[in-house]
Amino acid sequence: MTKSRVIATVTLFLLIATSAIFLFKQPDSSPNHEIILAENASPLSTLTIIAHEKGFFKQAGVDVKVSRFTSGKLALDAVLGGAADIATVAETPIMFAGIAGQDFRVIATTFLSGNACKVVVRSDHGIAKPSDLKGKKIGTFAGTNAEFFTKRFLESNNLKVSDVTIVNLTPTDMVIALTKGDIDAYMVWEPFIYNGKAALGDRAAIFEAPGIYTTTFNIVAKPDFLQAYPKETAAFIQALRLASRFALEHPTDAMATVGNYTNIPVPTLEAVWKDYTFPVTLDDNLVKFLTEQANWAIETDKVKPPAPDYRKYLDGDFVRSARH
């Protein structure tokens, strides 16, 4: 390589490296900033779905552009990376992000359920009650709240995780694996439980354990965004309140809207809707949930201690100030 070539190559690399640094989006200060919402297209995002499908964002005076994601974790990634402003996400990715020292704020919890995760088993594999799961192969989604639920469920039935064989699968693959009989049971969130039972009919049974684990879905944003666009954020939350009332007063319409947007059949949603609540709230319970999961993640060597004080990640201002 000639000397000039070397200089040119190094300069090129430096240019690429420095421009990569400046690719991080700075919030612009133009009026009526359009909020980019990274939304996990699932029933857990019911409030945001209703808000944009039923025009509540417009009504509250905020422009929202929706970016669909297949998981809350990916939506959170988008916000942390600067590609989106607000994300809808369950508490487990929030827990991990906190331990990893990421900077973000949870401004609302918009979904609560003590029965969002369940167990579906092959009853023809000799599983009549939860304790029969001992020694069996159980599918779950490693690294997510499904795995946490699995541990909780087993413990609540006097079993240890080591009493079973855990098989890591994505939710869709779980249904197939159970149908094939390669696993004896799986534990995950809806609608995959419903789908599994529907596929197997009499050969499957569902175990529920309401209350042993609370699933939450939350609204997350970065602190500089909240600082730069407080008005828009407040309007966003206001729209979610309107959506929450709508969901309460018009459940059929709400299910139809969500079903249409997520391509989940309405009968499936009807079967699980009774376990779901759609508040717009933020309280210390979330801190409790996050800390419990953080301890679990540390125990299972997923992360290194210490767990942070999750209170510093909660920003309840917007929930408190939004009018009913």
Binding site: I21, F24, A100, N168, D173, K180, D182
Partner: protein, 244 residues
């Protein structure tokens, strides 16, 4: 490159999403000390190796068959061309359905990916064999078997080797799909978990490990070829080894 990494990670304002080289090194040594790294490397290497051997063997056999036989080429050639661009990850649900969630399904997935570069290179190499070699062999009384193993395949070897070499990288690439479902160990599996836990340092460490095993495999493969087929490097080869 290393110094650019250090500079970039210092100035990057992405919180902990851009770890420094020493953070990655620390994650790596941690994985080594707990024994996790060795277990994962062994699992991933095993899946890649089995897939490579099975897919490579089938690729060579089919490549020879379609390269030599018009009818087989017409029947299978277009089918393979259609299947070739399928990303291995798209096969995962189907394979789970047919083969379940255990190791055999993973071996099949990797074999699937490895098969195509080997098949097409063997096919083209076989077709490109100078017919004079074949005429000479026939005039010397070679049976079909002798023709295949002692004339055509050796003559096509530069291209076959090229296809095999390409498929080494493909085998490791297929691990991304293979370790997605039903795995409890493996370098890619560990990377997925690290990603879920925002452990970017472990994610990058995993990437480096994957890249290293791939590189080592490639180097070992080249050494093996040089020892097993010393004539491949001599002057006056029948063709250049161009990959498909």
């Amino acid at each position: 490159m290393l110094s650019l990494w250090v500079i970039a990670s210092h100035f990057a304002d992405k919180g902990r999403l851009f770890p420094t080289p020493w953070e990655v090194a620390a994650a790596l040594s941690d994985m080594l000390v707990t024994g996790e790294l060795v277990r994962d490397v062994v699992a991933s290497a095993r899946r890649a190796l089995v897939g490579f051997v099975v897919g490579g063997t089938l690729g060579i056999l089919m490549g020879y068959a379609t390269g030599r036989n018009r009818l087989l080429d017409d029947s299978f050639g277009s089918l393979f061309q259609m299947l070739r661009p399928l990303p291995p990850i798209s096969l995962v649900p189907l394979l789970i359905l047919w083969l379940g969630i255990n190791e055999p399904a993973k071996y099949v997935l990797v074999s699937f990916g490895v098969f195509f570069p080997v098949w097409i290179n063997t096919h083209q190499g076989t077709r490109a064999v100078d017919p004079r070699y074949i005429w000479m062999a026939q005039s010397l009384g070679a049976s079909r078997q002798k023709l295949a193993f002692e004339v055509i395949l050796p003559a096509a070897l530069p291209m076959i080797v090229s296809g095999l070499r390409t498929s080494i990288g493909v085998a490791f690439f297929c691990l991304v799909a293979a370790e997605l479902a039903g795995a409890m160990d493996g370098v890619v599996f560990r990377m997925n978990l690290s990603q879920l836990a925002f452990r970017v340092d472990r994610l990058i460490a995993g990437l480096l490990v994957l890249g290293s095993i791939s590189l080592i495999s490639d180097t070992l493969f080249v050494r093996f070829i040089n020892v097993a087929f010393p004539w491949l490097n001599g002057p006056g080869n029948a063709h250049d080894a161009k990959s498909a």
